[in-house]
Amino acid sequence: MNVTITFRNRRNRRNPFIPIEAEMITPDAFFNNKEICVGEGNRTVHLNELADVGIEGTASSVDEIEILIRGDASLVKRVGEYMTGGTITIEGSIGMHCGNFMSGGRIEILGSADGWLGREMQGGEILCHGDCGDYCASGYRGGRRGMRGGSVEVIGSVGDFACEHIAGGDVLIHGNTGDFACAEMKGGTVTILGDTSRVCANMSNGTCYVYGCAAEMIPTFEKRGTINHEGLLFHHFRGDVANRGNGDLYTARFTYLQ
């Protein structure tokens, strides 16, 4: 089944800046033939009011559903939340919380993603071609475990607190990260091809590679010498000692705030 959702321009809506809460846009909901409603502020509206929805073909399992999102979806939140299979392709940019809790399937974003992409993700894949906001592949407030499985790849750069509380899965960031990437890391593998700052603060476990420079290194990591990884020389740190941590941080370069 192919579902095409084309968001219309919202200039004629009362306030085009109100985000759309669209947790029902998942292959699962279309597979179960649900009536798709979304939140626009304190009103609930039918998705048809905001987008043209085209459905072609049928599906015998959720994995046979492909959703294509076109038009401006940069304020559309929670797309793909709890999805278990199928694919979602977003032609432009997508709003916050895309792929929260997803456990299977694939999301591809050709533009950029706002904050909390893949929050508390359990499985499946996310590929974002543009940049990503804060809290990419992170956890929820008060939660002790963030992303637990699956993979996230961001071709651009990500904001602050990327992979906060990560406990499993793989994350690959081609660009730079903001401050406090991999804070409270508990497991999983994160690879940052660009620069980062205050990386792996308070980590207790897991592995992080930084191909660029780790600025303002947390001063409580133990230096363990250098290693060769994919033909490059990396400094190996263990920590965070302040947190009785046993995580591994490999970075090509680093600086301290002295």
Binding site: W116, D134, Y135, G159, D160, F161, G178
Partner: protein
């Protein structure tokens, strides 16, 4: 010259909190505390006015020399003047950057604006005089 600006509470700012449109509040919140060496470097004297510019905007403030702040840093009371150069981005935390803002400072003869002026610049309408 580039400085790191932080804002915070001060006694004068606090005691005029109930009188936000008074001269006293204006004075208390448009004062920028700066190290004497930096004052010399800028070629001005304590009490002279400066243009303080961040990525967000620019505002005129009155300098006050003090040794309590390290050279290279400046400090201002919380208030409308600080806000004129503070951005609304919160890094996904809800809290804007009221501290550690990178600013450019240069001497000026321009006057310090009133709180009403600042409010009108962003689309407000003053009440009374």
């Amino acid at each position: 010259m580039t400085f790191i600006l932080s804002s915070g509470r001060t006694i004068p700012q606090g005691s005029f909190v109930e009188h936000k449109l008074s001269k006293g509040y204006q004075r208390a919140t448009s004062m920028i505390y700066i190290h004497p060496l930096d004052i010399m470097e800028l070629g001005i004297e304590s009490g002279d006015r400066v243009h303080v510019t961040s990525d967000i905007g620019s505002v005129v403030l009155t300098t006050e020399a003090t040794n309590d702040i390290p050279s290279g840093c400046v400090y201002i009371a919380l208030g409308p003047y600080a806000n004129a150069i503070t951005g609304g981005y919160t890094h996904g935390t809800g809290m804007p950057d009221y501290k550690d803002i990178s600013v450019e400072i240069e001497p000026t003869d321009d006057p310090v604006q009133t709180v009403w002026d600042l409010m009108e610049m962003i689309g407000g309408v003053r009440y009374g005089k």
